[in-house]
């Protein structure tokens, strides 16, 4: 046991070598007595604390502590001397000392009790921990700043650390995550996660979790999130920990789905185009051929000096030319249909039907019946008008009598969907033609009998389907007369009442 005097710099009785060693030791050394007074300090200690030693010797050691810690320190000193052991001081907490100029310095302090003749004392080795503290802080900042959610989970599956991104993704503040089982963040249906976790712990490898499978996490609000998880075992001082990085891939999944839809649409569009080109080239050639033939016949007849049929030929030529023009116009309409999305506007559906009837159906011998007095709604007006106009004029055009009735009804079948019915009392359409009439250029009567491009219903179908509606037809010719076209049409959900 060394006898160390408690007075100043006089180390009489101590060998000069030991004096030298203590004085010039690379660590700051302080000797504190049982009552808590500073008895000795070396050169490094002077430098660290910023004091001359005679300013500190005899002072209470509390003078080196930040004011808030001073009150409690004597008690801690007492506890130390009750069971003095060589150990790190306050190892769990981060401690600072106060220098002469009032600045605080983060330190690590090792305490070593010694027993002298008079009383036990403690040697404190004080090390400047500012660099270490900075590194720890930087590490913490890096973890916090990570764009991935980072969680540290121990071998029992308890969350020991979670960064800010984790809180953002899962909706829990850190306080509600720490100490919780990791299963809190996993949807309940994955009951076997615990088993998988235990299996992983037995031989933990750095890898992606769930290779190839779709992974789902659970948000605080109960909703599920598509995620990707990386697992990294860390051998920490107190056991094995798993560092998990979690990325929310919801947006990526959505983008992929959007792409798939686009590709599907593109393929559909291409298929449409092929079918269109095939049909168009055939049906457009037809009137051209007729015109060409008539021209030939006119030439032949003139050559023979036969003029009787020429007027007839020229007349037929004109008819074919107009037919071709109409075909091309309707083709253009068809190809444009559903392309531009107009805005929804307010209208009265029954009023629109009345207007169409009055302007476009000139035959006064036809009657219009409506399913109600008024039906206010909010929808895409120009396209709805086209659909109704086509259906209603078809009803008149294909009627076998010069008089008849058309009935139009409107009803609401869902919050955002209306159903229209256009009913006529014409000859009707036999079941076997029901599919065909919606195709391009399909007519049920020869064009020389009933002038029509055959595009009307194809256009109607395209318009209805572009608006996400559906169209169907009910008719049972020749058993029954009459024909009903039914189509659904989107409307803005509203509080309007039907009249």
């Amino acid at each position: 046991m060394e006898v160390i005097r408690s007075t100043g710099t006089d180390f009489g009785g101590v060998s000069p070598l030991y004096q030298n060693i203590v004085e010039h030791a690379p660590s700051a050394i302080v000797l504190v007595g049982l009552a808590g007074h500073i008895e000795l300090l070396n050169l490094q200690a002077e430098k660290l604390f910023g004091y001359e030693r005679n300013e500190l010797i005899g002072q209470a050691v509390e003078v080196l502590l930040p004011p808030p810690s001073r009150a409690n320190h004597p008690k801690l000193r007492q506890i130390f001397f009750d069971t003095p052991t060589s150990r790190q001081m306050a190892s769990a907490r981060k401690i600072n000392i106060v220098r002469r100029d009032g600045s605080e310095l983060p330190v690590e302090i090792r305490l070593h009790p010694i027993f002298t003749e008079s009383e036990p004392k403690v040697i404190a080795i004080v090390a400047d921990a500012s660099q270490q503290r900075r590194q720890e802080e930087n590490f913490r900042l890096a973890i916090e700043a990570s764009p991935s959610a980072l969680l540290m989970v121990n071998a029992d599956g308890t969350i020991e650390m979670a960064n800010q991104q984790t809180s953002i993704i899962f909706g829990y503040p850190a306080s509600e995550l720490l100490g919780q089982p990791i299963e809190k963040l996993i949807p309940q249906r994955f009951e076997n996660h615990r088993h998988l976790r235990n299996a992983y712990i037995c031989d933990p490898q750095p890898r992606a979790m769930g290779g190839g499978r779709d992974l789902y996490a659970r948000h605080r609000n109960g909703g599920e999130i598509r995620v990707e998880v990386g697992l990294n075992p860390i051998r920490a001082t107190d056991g094995i920990k798993i560092l998990c990085s979690v990325i929310d891939i919801t947006e990526r999944v959505r983008a992929k789905e959007r792409l798939e839809i686009q590709q599907y649409e593109l393929k559909r569009s291409n298929d449409d185009l092929s079918a269109f080109a095939y049909v168009a080239s055939h049906d457009l050639k037809s009137p051209l051929r007729g015109i060409s033939q008539l021209a030939n016949w006119i030439t032949e007849d003139l050559a023979e000096g036969n003029t009787t049929a020429i007027n007839g030929h020229l007349c037929m030529m004109q008819k074919r030319i107009s037919r071709m023009e109409k075909l091309l116009d309707d083709l253009l309409l068809y190809s444009r249909a559903g392309r531009s999305k107009s805005l929804m506007e307010d209208l009265d559906a029954y009023e629109l039907v009345r207007q169409i009837f009055d302007s476009y159906l000139p035959v006064s011998s036809f009657q219009l019946y409506l399913g109600g007095k008024s039906f206010p709604m909010r929808t895409y007006i120009p396209t709805l008008e086209q659909v109704l106009r086509n259906l209603m004029s078809n009803a008149v055009k294909h009627h076998d009598r010069s008089y008849g009735t058309i009935t139009v009804t409107v009803s609401r079948v869902a919050d955002d969907l209306a159903e229209f019915k256009v009913i006529d009392d014409g000859p009707g359409i036999a079941a076997k033609f029901h599919q065909r009439i919606f195709q391009m250029f399909q007519t049920l009567r020869p064009r020389d009998e009933v002038e029509g491009s055959g595009m009307g219903l194809a256009l109607v179908k395209k318009l209805v389907e572009s608006a996400d509606g559906k169209i169907s037809l009910h008719s049972n010719a020749p058993t029954q007369r009459g024909c009903t076209f039914i189509f659904t049409w989107p409307i803005a959900p509203s509080l309007y009442q039907e009249g």
Binding site: H282, S286, R289, G290, Q293, L294, T443, R445, P446
Partner: protein
């Protein structure tokens, strides 16, 4: 005009929805001085009706267009070949459709010949002439 073996005139049933094409056939027949009786149906349905109602006296040849409303040429051929009475009818197909599928389908329904109208606009006369020879040479059911 040489009558057929049985001493009867061969009738012609033109099945085509296009008035101008029908005019074309009739003009061609006129030019060739073929005065055989011609009948006309606007589509397959009408043609079947006329044949079943025996409005077209035997022997006859059918000149068939493939693209018509309600019942097109192929559907008409199917019905024809399925009909016990009409199955042996001689049919020549006159059409604008160059598409191979149409051609193959028509031959599978056992037609006597296939001629595309647009390709033979000029030679339409030749085609009709061929028909004329056909019904003089071949024995018709």
């Amino acid at each position: 005009m040489a009558p057929a073996e049985h001493g009867k005139q061969v009738s012609l049933l033109i099945v085509d929805d296009d008035d101008i094409d029908v005019m074309g056939v009739r003009r061609a027949l006129e030019k060739l001085k073929i005065a055989n009786p011609t009948f006309r149906a606007r589509d397959g349905l009408e043609a079947l009706e006329m044949l079943r109602d025996e409005m077209v006296p035997a022997p006859f040849i059918v000149l068939l267009d493939l693209n018509m409303p309600r019942m097109n040429g192929i559907e008409f051929l199917r019905e024809l070949r399925a009909d016990k009475v009409l199955t042996t009818t001689v049919v020549f197909v006159l059409t604008t459709s160059k598409a191979d599928e149409d051609m193959v389908m028509a031959y599978e329904k056992h037609i006597a010949g296939y001629m595309t109208k647009s390709a033979i606009n000029r030679d339409f006369m030749g085609a009709i002439g061929l028909l004329e020879h056909y019904w003089r040479i071949v024995e018709l059911p």
